[in-house]
């Protein structure tokens, strides 16, 4: 603009022009810088993934010749039709279970005056802090042939019938669904927390019932957030290995990932087939994200944090408070109470045995005392906390910027979204092997250190952080940022002083989620830890493989208790922070 340059401007205005020039334009560099950083993290493992999918595995685990065989195997596997059907049914139904459970709970806790809100948070935190193998084996134990439910049925109804078969598609759906409902709860609670109650109240004033209001207003407002989340959970379920293997395989319910699990576990490990599947999943995810992007283009229609007098108020349930409280209790019982009871039972017993009164005299605290009296676990605990907290912090720092750029559809936004989401479909073992390779070739000696585990965690959990911040930003109407811009704020200032504080609930939830899930992650540390960088998860696996199920349970419970204390303290601090912004 040459005319502007020629005008003799007074100093303050000149400064403002400078600051405007400094303010990153819509096609700002920041997006590309961030995309470059994320690309540096994601692309090397992606390269290894694609290469692995295209090479033969030689007998000695070396890289063989180029092959398309892994892809051919994907489409020619036996019972492909059944497996595809099972996979889609499993992923879709488990997503619905998680969304119904987690979503309903989040809405009740954040938008209504339901009692027992603390219980809902406690349920979430403890269940996220409980190690995965304990959680799944608790379910298998509870609903297994020798579990208390089948036991009771045989005792009082029909001794020859096993009522529940947990090793079935239904069992898989229920377990996977419960496993991820805390994620949905945390994610949607931050979204609902930032929702404007005015529209709900307007609907109520206009005579709508609670259900009508929820259906026509609350749900519609949160729709982009819910859809993004549903898509995310669906993808995660589709590529899940663990529940299909642990729950489905003994019952011969095969999904697409079952065969992959088998190929990875064979000798020598066949990583090519798993990688080929992930590459196909990556393509699928890219397509889904593309369509999702088109949908969320109009996302600001749904934004509820606007520039108008903003103050969310809880929705009065009236007489519905009691049934609503029952939902919270039900969630507590199903998601936490039952599995926890099973874990406590296993921790108290010298060996795994059915839940019967007759077994009670055998209960002892021996497993707990042997954990507490071993100094070995202390060092591992410190390592684990360090790496989990470091990962959560780094991931949230990256994804706050990333989530904002993507949600605002700034230059580089789509690219960032695609890049960050990629690790979601990396099989853990392939990601681990890629990092082994990279670390062995880096000039910096991070091989076998906590840094390498942290790096692996960061890549693996970035997608989760991104979902939290992305969903959070969608709730904030761009008019607030535009106002800041008009008032002369740079992009950085706007982010720091406007978006950041409004995004606190999402950032806090995301940090907490990554912290808890990284602290219990098992597969990556098993492959990457060196002599001095072992974590609690490695010790847990060690005990597990020795059949010290009782001691694993005791260690897991103590660990979950510690995580709960940490997480609760943190959450209280963060809620105070956000209370300053949103009101309590």
């Amino acid at each position: 603009m040459p005319e502007v340059a020629r005008l003799p401007l007074p100093m303050p205005q000149a400064r403002r022009t400078w600051s405007r020039a400094l303010r990153l334009p819509p096609g700002g560099i920041a997006g590309y810088v961030l995309a470059a950083i994320i690309a540096l993290l994601v692309l090397p493992p992606l390269f290894v993934l694609v290469r692995t999918s295209l090479t033969e595995v030689t007998a000695g685990m070396g890289q063989g010749a180029f092959t398309l065989q892994n892809y051919v195997l994907l489409v020619t596997s036996r019972n492909l039709g059944t497996m595809v059907f099972n996979s889609v049914a499993f992923a879709a139904c488990a997503t619905i279970v998680s969304l119904l459970f987690g979503g309903l709970l989040a809405w009740l806790v954040e938008r209504t005056d339901v009692p027992l809100k603390g219980l809902a948070y406690l349920t979430t935190i403890i269940s996220l802090g409980t190690p995965y193998i304990l959680y799944v084996s608790a379910w298998l134990f509870l609903f297994g042939r020798a579990g208390p439910f089948n036991d009771l049925y045989r005792m009082y109804v029909d001794p020859s019938v096993t009522l529940i078969n947990v090793n079935s598609l239904g069992g898989m759906i229920a377990i996977e669904g419960f496993l991820w409902s805390p994620l949905v709860f945390l994610m949607l609670s931050s979204a609902f927390r930032a929702a404007n109650a005015e529209m709900e109240e307007a609907a109520r004033v206009a005579g709508a019932s609670i259900l009508e209001t929820v259906w026509k207003v609350s749900l519609r407002l949160a729709m982009p957030a819910i859809l993004a989340l549903a898509l995310f959970v669906f993808i995660r379920n589709l590529e899940a290995f663990e529940v299909p293997a642990l729950v489905g395989m003994p019952g011969r319910v095969d999904v697409l990932t079952t065969e992959i699990y088998r190929s990875v576990k064979s000798m020598p490990p066949q990583l090519g087939y798993a990688s080929a599947f992930s590459v196909v999943m990556l393509a699928l995810v890219a397509v889904l994200l593309f369509f999702y992007g088109r949908l969320s283009k109009r996302a600001e229609r749904f934004a509820s944090i606007t520039g108008k007098g903003y103050r969310p108020r809880p929705f009065r349930l009236g007489r519905a408070r009691i049934p609503a409280a029952c939902i919270i209790v039900f969630n507590f019982v199903v998601v936490l109470g039952l599995p926890l009871a099973a874990v406590v039972w296993m921790a108290l017993m010298p060996f795994v045995r059915p839940m019967r009164w007759a077994a009670l005299p055998f209960a002892s605290l021996k497993n707990f005392t042997s954990v507490v009296s071993s100094p070995y676990y202390f060092g591992l605990g410190v390592n684990t906390l360090l790496v989990a907290a470091g990962t959560a912090t780094a991931a949230m720092l990256l994804t706050v910027g990333g989530g904002w750029i993507a949600a605002r559809r700034r230059a580089g936004g789509t690219l960032i979204d695609q890049l960050v989401t990629m690790p979601l479909v990396f099989p853990g073992l392939v990601l681990g092997v890629a990092l082994l390779e990279i670390a062995l070739q880096l000039p910096i000696p991070i091989y076998g250190t906590l840094w390498l585990i942290g790096l692996a965690f960061l890549i693996r959990y970035m997608p989760y952080g991104m979902r939290y911040t992305y969903t959070g930003v969608l709730q904030i109407h761009p008019e607030l940022e535009q106002a800041a811009g008009v008032a002369g704020a740079t992009t950085f200032e706007t982010l720091r002083r406007i978006v950041g504080p409004l995004l606190w609930p999402a950032i806090a939830s995301g940090w907490l989620f990554i912290f808890l899930i990284a602290a219990k992650e098992m597969s990556l540390p098993l492959l990457l830890a060196g002599p001095n960088s072992q974590t609690v998860a490695v010790a847990m696996f060690d005990l597990w493989s020795n059949g010290q199920g009782g001691e694993v349970s005791a260690l897991g419970l103590l660990w979950a208790a510690l995580m709960t204390i940490f997480a609760s303290a943190l959450y209280v601090i963060l809620r105070r922070q956000s209370a300053a912004t949103f009101g309590d």
């Binding site: 042939r145 000798m267 045995r353 070995y376």
Partner: protein, 355 residues
């Protein structure tokens, strides 16, 4: 094929006198090695100062006691350990070797050896301490030496299976009462389904063996995606009244705590946990010294104390019945060489019939 029982009897005759002497000598054994150890090896190991052991063994139970005893005996040589399952261990070592930067000096495990050997990464070493081991317990060219033996065999839940229903032979597994009630690990090892299938084919002959396996497959054995120990736990908890391919010493440890479980002497297979050394490792001498120590009577007794079955014919298991000779049963020895030769064929049968 000579069975374990015959072989051991033969060896034990000679060893018993030596063992009696050792027991009498008591603490002497700590200061005076019972086997001829090259003093130069100790010196070279001391110069290296440390060794890194990639282990599939259980840390609390055996790894740390073993390291404590070794470090007490050879002060100045530190043992680092990295615990992980066989697959992670093999992947990690092969990646290190490919990058030209081997960090692990030695490894152990029942399966770890196979892929690493196929990749040509395993160094040869014939430990002095194993010179009296049966020839089936070590590779003639020194690629591997057994540190423990593992007897893979079925077990029953004694609360659920009355004595009269206990299977006595492989044929009894075909009884309709076991349909849908049996489980085994999905481990691709000699002590997992492939080894079981191999044992059936070798003892019954191919034709009869295949006919048996096809009928057994109709019983729908549940494939548990976990190691043998976890399968045994599901046997104890009552999820499956009868399980195949578990390790007998695990059953004995649990039964001693009151668990309703009993292992069956029903076509048992004798497999090995083995030690191997990595080529181009940073501390080859310390690694050799560590292997020597593990296989010496002193080291083998630490295994026995931890509940494992020592490979050394001179060291009995804590529960003597666990070993074929003392327990008066026959077990088919499935050596790594034999398994490697047939592994592909047996795994294929497993996949086709049982998955």
């Amino acid at each position: 094929m000579m069975t374990m029982s015959d072989r051991m009897k033969q060896l034990m005759r000679g060893r018993r006198a030596a063992l009696a002497e050792l027991v009498v000598a008591g603490t002497l054994a700590v200061t005076q090695p019972a086997w001829a150890l090259d003093p130069k090896l100790v010196d070279s190991a001391r110069k290296e100062g440390e060794v890194t052991w990639y282990t599939t063994l259980v840390v609390g139970q055996i790894v740390r006691p073993m390291i404590a005893a070794f470090e007490a005996k050879y002060p100045g040589i530190k043992v680092n350990y990295v615990p992980a399952p066989w697959q992670e261990t093999a992947l990690r070592l092969s990646n290190e070797a490919r990058a030209g930067s081997v960090k692990g000096d030695l490894f152990d495990g029942g399966i770890t050896f196979y892929p690493l050997n196929q990749a040509g990464l395993v160094d040869r070493f014939m430990p002095d301490a194993a010179k009296d081991f049966p020839p089936e317990f070590k590779d003639p060219t020194g690629l591997w030496t057994a540190n423990i033996i593992q007897i893979a065999t079925p077990s029953i839940n004694t609360d659920q299976v009355p004595g009269k229903d206990t299977p006595q032979s492989l044929e009894d597994l075909l009884d309709p009462r076991w349909a849908g009630k049996m489980a085994w690990t999905d481990s691709p090892s000699a002590s997992g389904p492939p080894g079981f299938i191999g044992n059936v084919l070798m003892s019954m002959g191919t034709g009869k063996g295949m006919a048996f396996l096809e009928r057994l497959a109709k019983q729908r054995i549940a494939n548990i995606p976990a190691i043998q120990r976890v399968v045994l736990d599901q046997n104890i908890s009552g999820q499956y009244p009868l399980v195949l391919c578990i390790y007998n010493y695990h059953a004995v440890i649990s039964a001693a705590q009151g668990a309703p479980v009993k292992w069956l002497k029903l076509s048992p297979i004798l497999t090995f946990g083995t030690f191997g050394l990595m080529k181009n490792s940073p501390h080859p001498n310390a690694a050799r010294l560590f292997v020597e120590f593990n296989l010496s009577d002193e080291g083998q007794r630490i295994y026995a104390k931890a509940g494992y079955i020592p490979a050394s014919p001179g060291v009995p298991a804590t529960e003597a019945d666990l070993k074929p000779d003392a327990g008066h049963y026959k077990a088919r020895i499935m050596s790594p060489v034999e398994f490697q030769e047939h592994e592909a064929e047996w795994t294929l049968i497993y996949k086709r019939l049982f998955q």
